[in-house]
Amino acid sequence: MRPLTEEETKAMFEKLSKYIGENIKLLVDRPDGTYCFRLHHDRVYYMSEKILKLATNFSRDKLISVGTCFGKFTKTKKFRLHITALDFLAPYAKFKVWVKPGAEQSFLYGNHVLKSGLGRITENTMQYQGVVVYSMADVPLGFGVAAKTTQECRRVDPLTIVVFHQADVGEFIRNEDTLT
């Protein structure tokens, strides 16, 4: 386990800010203690400093996971955000999309969101803006990238994609193995 280098930190924060903007500092300075990011086996883990101290007791090959995994760095050093970060993105999300009940299942299977399944969308969403997807009951389902701006969403025909799928909670069942 090691701290992130500058480039890695930059890449990660860039990705995160797509979804939560400048709220990243809220992630680091929390009322219940300081939290930090650490890299372990190419994955970025978010943990409090208390856990950090204890985690140093374990040898590198035996340690599997610490705190919450936010995502991983690919071979080409790009940062990919995992669904496991949803719990931290959802409360601070700047742009949200609500999906109709009928389209819920489809999104959970990994499909993109079509205009016909779109329930609500926050105003002034830019194109290719990172969004967090919710169900109509305000349960976070995943996140994605807005394919159209809010204005365009109103105009387009029902079968066009409005949100590109990036991650959804269905992956907990579908891709259990990739979590570790």
Binding site: D32, Y46, M47, S48, K50, I51, L54, A55, N57, F58, K62, L63, I64, S65, V66, G67, T68, C69, I83, T84, D87, E104, L108, S135, A137, V139, P140, L141, V169, G170, F172, I173, E176, D177, L179, T180
Partner: protein
């Protein structure tokens, strides 16, 4: 008005509706106006037989003429009109035949006929003594046998016969009464007959028939007979469950048996064994019944005999069958609300909206829900994926409830896959503190990670160590949960392979691993922890070797004690079992069974560590002692188990020394020996080590140690003197002298030495 007399009206005969309708006036009148002109009536074959029966009856019975005038029959009819009681018997016998004939007809199976025939014969045999009062029925029955034989060819006429019989019976009883009686008989026979149907393939006709006959006879007797002592004894004789003779057993072995008959036999066997003195067969020992029961249980429930033996030791027979039955069906699906993300009420509402039928699990849990049925897969709802609940067996709630982790504590879960208990601990701690989730199997750890992330747990570290390494990797936890890997005898419903795959070696291997793990768990806990110092040991097994024995071992080896689990339901753990004698505090542990609590078989024990000192030194000393005293090496182990001892590990040392005194021939009085801390004894022990007893005394933080310290110090001079002798003694098996003698000898020696000095 009256029915019109129409001579041209032909009376309908046969089984149809019209025959059963009220006959016309002609017929009714004809009954009263008997034509002597008719002379010898043309009787049917059955009527002929009946007549013959009656003729015999009238010969035998002297009471008949007396009864006739009472009944009011004319003398002319005395031959063929009998008093109702007897007539019923005969009729019933006849109707029995009839109904059986009918039944045979409907099934049209000759095998069954034969069986019924045999059955009849069988029933007639034992029935004979009872019917002595009502004479002549034997003949009736014999006749009906003949009927049976005769009627093979005349099956189609059976219905006609019935109708005819009905006609002739009308005088005795109203048709309705007659019909009711016949229905009853039919029903009984159909029930028995259906059993017989199933037993067609079975070769143990005799036994079954006897049993069935017993049942049938029983019913008959209940219906007809007055209470009579002789009759009751006859019932017992016939009704009894009989063990198959060796020849029958061989037959059985060669041919496959019907499961239903085995099941019936199991039930009967258990019944006999429960009231053994009353229902036993003369000459057959209990062991015979038990061995037959074991064999049947193995066959019926597909267990291997080892496991059935083990279960028989654990449960009384009535519970055993319940337990085995419970293992055949699944326990209800239960879920646990994740209170980090939602509330049980809200979750229940959301799931009901999706079409899930659920209920709170019970008073003992505030987060559990039991699912009766669901139109959507429970493991794939959006609520599940969002981490609002976790699929978890009800029994898995219990160890975490017993552990009751507090906020801000450090908790270790030594065997955490797939992560249900870990996440429950996290939700109880509200994501504060730290949890270390360990598992030896890296494949299963993926599910732990998945569940942790899905349920939003943030305070967990997941690692992949062998649990036995744990105090070295990290120690000083406040609480430790050990859900030890086990043989799985409590979750047979989930994994039926356990039924046939487990044997003695598996159980002992599991027990050995569990003992190592529990010691590691105890060593990882910090006894000085302000809020904790608890270890919860649990398994999903019901064998005593993996549960109470392991806990007892821990009590002996470490400074821990058992505390109440906080679970107010469940059976108490065993303190005595077969050859085991456990510490009485084992009563505080809890056992759960599928048949009594409707959850997987489980065992939970909560231990509190009261001292961080690891009592390893006496264990070492004991090892040395056992090395040196060859004779006492072997008996020491079983004696440890059998003798009463304090849980303090020091007693082990005394236990180890006890066997030394045994060859002496003195009576073994453990209490005396334990209490007495005589100097020479301590000195001897000190000598054996070669080390100073001081070291041992320091490490034992009890008062007794102090006493020990004083004694050996005073004897150290003597100790050095006797060392050579002791060295010699080590090689030979010690012949221990009486203490009195020893003292005197030593005293003598000191005196001599003093004299020498002087």
């Amino acid at each position: 008005m009256g029915r019109k007399l129409d001579p041209t009206n032909k009376v309908k005969r046969g089984p149809g509706k019209k025959a059963r309708k009220q006959k016309g006036a002609e017929v009714e009148l004809a009954k009263f106006i008997t034509d002597e002109d008719t002379g010898p009536k043309r009787l049917s074959s059955r009527a002929r037989k009946r007549a013959a029966k009656r003729a015999d009856n009238s010969k035998n019975l002297k009471e008949v003429p007396k009864k006739e005038p009472k009944k009011g029959f004319t003398d002319e009819n005395s031959k063929w009109l009998k008093p109702t009681k007897r007539k019923r018997k005969a009729d019933e016998a006849g109707s029995e035949d009839d109904s059986e004939e009918l039944w045979e007809e409907s099934d049209g199976d000759e095998d069954e006929e034969e069986e019924v025939q045999l059955q009849q014969k069988g029933s007639k045999g034992p029935a004979k003594p009872e019917i002595k009062e009502v004479e002549g029925d034997e003949d009736d029955k014999d006749d009906s046998d003949e009927d049976m034989v005769d009627d093979y060819g005349a099956l189609d006429d059976g219905s006609e016969d019935e109708a005819q019989e009905e006609d002739s019976d009308a005088e005795d009883l109203l048709p309705i009464e007659r019909a009711a009686k016949k229905e009853k008989k039919l029903k009984k026979l159909m029930d028995l007959g259906s059993e017989d149907d199933d037993d067609e393939d079975e070769e143990e006709e005799e036994e079954e028939e006897e049993e069935d006959d017993g049942d049938e006879k029983d019913e008959q007797q209940e219906e007809d007979m007055d209470e009579d002592g002789t009759l009751e004894t006859n019932t017992d004789e016939v009704d009894r469950f009989r063990l198959p003779d060796p020849e029958d057993s061989e037959k059985e072995g060669m041919l496959s048996l019907d499961l239903k008959s085995i099941h019936q036999r199991i039930k009967d066997n258990v019944d006999v064994l429960c009231n053994f003195s009353a229902k036993r067969e003369e000459g057959k020992a209990r062991g015979d019944y038990v061995s037959l029961l074991k064999k049947d249980l193995c066959t019926y429930y597909s267990y291997n005999s080892f496991l059935i033996d083990k279960l028989m030791e654990l449960f009384p027979l009535s519970e055993l069958v319940d337990f085995l039955e419970a293992n055949e069906i699944q326990r209800p699906v239960t879920i646990r609300t994740n209170t980090l993300k939602t509330r049980r009420r809200d979750l229940a509402q959301a799931l009901i909206n999706r079409g899930v039928n659920l209920d709170p699990i019970g008073k003992w849990s505030k987060v559990g829900l039991v699912i009766y049925d669901s139109s959507v897969p429970v493991g794939a709802t959006p609520e599940y994926l969002a981490g609002h609940y976790m699929l978890q067996g009800a029994s898995s709630f219990l160890p975490v409830m017993a552990l009751s982790p507090q906020e801000g504590e450090m908790v270790l879960d030594m065997s955490s896959a797939p992560g249900g208990k870990t996440t429950y601990i996290a939700q109880l701690m509200r994501n504060t503190g730290v949890i270390v989730a360990n598992d030896a199997n890296s494949e299963r750890l993926k599910s732990v990670v998945g569940n942790i992330h899905r349920l939003g747990v943030t305070n967990t570290v997941v690692c992949n160590y062998d649990g036995r390494q744990f105090p070295k990797v990290m120690g000083g936890f406040d609480r430790v949960l050990l859900d030890a890997p086990c043989s799985g005898t409590g979750v047979i419903a989930k994994d039926p392979a356990v039924k046939t795959s487990k044997d003695e070696a598996d159980i002992l291997r599991s027990a050995h691993l569990q003992k190592e793990l529990i010691l590691s768990a105890i060593d990882s806990v910090n006894a000085e922890s302000p809020s904790g110092g608890y270890v919860v040991y649990c398994t999903c097994s019901i064998t005593v070797e993996e549960n109470e024995w392991v806990v007892d071992y821990a009590l002996k080896k470490r400074n821990v004690k058992l505390v109440p689990t906080g679970l107010d339901f469940g059976k108490e753990g065993f303190t005595n079992f077969k050859q085991f004698r456990f510490h009485p505090s084992l009563k505080l542990t809890r056992r759960f069974y599928p048949h009594s609590h409707n959850m997987d078989g489980f065992f939970v024990a909560k231990l509190k560590k009261f001292s961080n000192v690891v009592p390893t030194v006496p264990a070492e000393k004991e090892e040395e002692k056992t090395d040196t005293t060859e004779a006492t090496a072997s008996p020491s182990a079983p004696k440890d188990l059998l003798s009463n001892y304090d849980k303090k590990s020091k007693m082990e040392k005394r236990d180890g020394s006890k066997p030394k005194t045994k060859p002496n021939g003195t009576t073994f009085k453990p209490t005396e020996e334990n209490k007495s801390k005589s100097g020479p004894k301590k000195a001897k022990i000190a000598k054996m080590d070669g080390k100073g007893v001081k070291a041992a005394g320091v490490k034992k933080p009890t008062v007794k140690a102090d006493v020990k310290n004083e004694a050996p110090k005073s004897d150290q001079n003597e100790g050095s003197r006797f060392e050579k002798k002791q060295a010699k003694k080590r090689k030979k098996p010690t012949i221990v002298k009486k203490r009195l003698g020893k003292n005197k000898f030593q005293k003598l020696k000191t005196m001599l030495k003093k004299h020498e000095r002087e």
